[in-house]
Assembly symmetry: C2
Homo-oligomer: 206 residues x 2
Amino acid sequence: FVSKATIDRLPLYYRCLNSAQMDGQDIISSEELGQRIGITPEQIRKDLSSFGEFGKKGVGYYVNELRRNIGEILGLNLNWSVVIIGVGHLGWALTHYQNFAKMGFQIKGLFDIDSEKVGRKITGIEIKHLNCVQDFVKQQQIDIAVITVPADNAQQVVDQLVSSGIKGIWNFAPVRLVVPEHISLINEDLTVGLVSLSYYLTRRRK
Amino acid sequence: FVSKATIDRLPLYYRCLNSAQMDGQDIISSEELGQRIGITPEQIRKDLSSFGEFGKKGVGYYVNELRRNIGEILGLNLNWSVVIIGVGHLGWALTHYQNFAKMGFQIKGLFDIDSEKVGRKITGIEIKHLNCVQDFVKQQQIDIAVITVPADNAQQVVDQLVSSGIKGIWNFAPVRLVVPEHISLINEDLTVGLVSLSYYLTRRRK
Ligand SMILES: NC(=O)c1ccc[n+]([C@@H]2O[C@H](COP(=O)([O-])OP(=O)(O)OC[C@H]3O[C@@H](n4cnc5c(N)ncnc54)[C@H](O)[C@@H]3O)[C@@H](O)[C@H]2O)c1
Ligand SMILES: NC(=O)c1ccc[n+]([C@@H]2O[C@H](COP(=O)([O-])OP(=O)(O)OC[C@H]3O[C@@H](n4cnc5c(N)ncnc54)[C@H](O)[C@@H]3O)[C@@H](O)[C@H]2O)c1
């Protein structure tokens, strides 16, 4: 069993190893890895040991090897297909984010209900009407749907996706979605970062 | 001492109490609060007890009272002023997000270096050139800066903000920023959600 906190740290290790590899670094110690991410070296060694034996005592970790191993644990080598539902301000921004493709997430479809948007192309992908999403997800065997529609419409959109065979949902709408057990759901609450800042700034004032 | 994990859960409690209050609910149990957020009731009771005595045994928590208390712990009643640096795809989306204002975060300024953008107005706020940010932050006593510029430019932007008297930084650029100890820094990595989904979908395949 691996804790959610450990799983959430893996992408940070992966990103750090990415940039170490780009700098041409061959070996990295848990101290340096920790310093670059802001985590103790003990926590790093504990996290990685839940997945196997990596690195050499006294030497550190081989950057290429560890990056490949973590990438495989995370399934980043599997090239996941993604659709974005709701191409408003946030959906538009996420469509343009090039880091998703670099990590193996290919945006294959965009869906909306606004007749002004349907038919337009963004980054070469045509926005389709929501009515087409079920056939599209089935035929293209789409893995993940990103939900960037208003909170009131989110559950109804998700119900349509569930019956289309989607495997995972990444939800940005500030509402608690109900999905069947076989679908993985990640809720993103973008206010958490600002609110945490507010907590830390309040404590400094005192 | 309160752990970061507890602090990160407080905004979820606050949001849940918000919607319970809007539904006209007077009392909520830790069981119901837990069910709505996806956290055990024991964890909720443990979290809240690190801040004081809330709720009545056998009755539950008074929704209005708990919401007000958590809001004060988080400093949400203090009305924080915010500027957004880099009004590209993501900066544009964040500028339009109305939930920030509802939680007491007022966007007071927008800054960019693109001459095509400087001078335009979004949600009634004029985009100013980055050269003006230091005077603006000093004169308006801005609390928080949101960084949505490309990774290569982020550190240089932050250095300008540091000398302007900013108190907190919410960073979206995928790069590790160096800030002095007296400034609170929150790094947001939007790839974490997708990458975690990839991990859970990979495990289901096996
Ligand atoms: N803007 C942000 O930075 C931000 C941040 C955090 C969370 N969110 C949340 O993300 C969601 C989107 O926010 P936004 O600012 O992009 O809103 P928006 O209004 O700009 O975009 C919503 C889009 O969804 C489309 N839509 C509405 N109902 C639909 C349906 N049933 N099926 C398909 N498409 C539908 C609309 O036509 C529109 O294009 C909201 O739930 C919001 O609370 C936004
Ligand atoms: N688009 C997304 O959904 C997304 C998601 C996660 C993280 N990010 C990160 O957020 C940042 C912004 O992404 P984006 O997609 O909005 O990029 P973008 O290129 O659309 O926007 C960047 C904006 O910053 C401005 N800019 C560049 N240098 C500047 C400087 N020195 N001072 C002030 N403004 C400057 C540009 O003129 C542009 O308007 C990037 O670091 C990106 O990696 C974006």
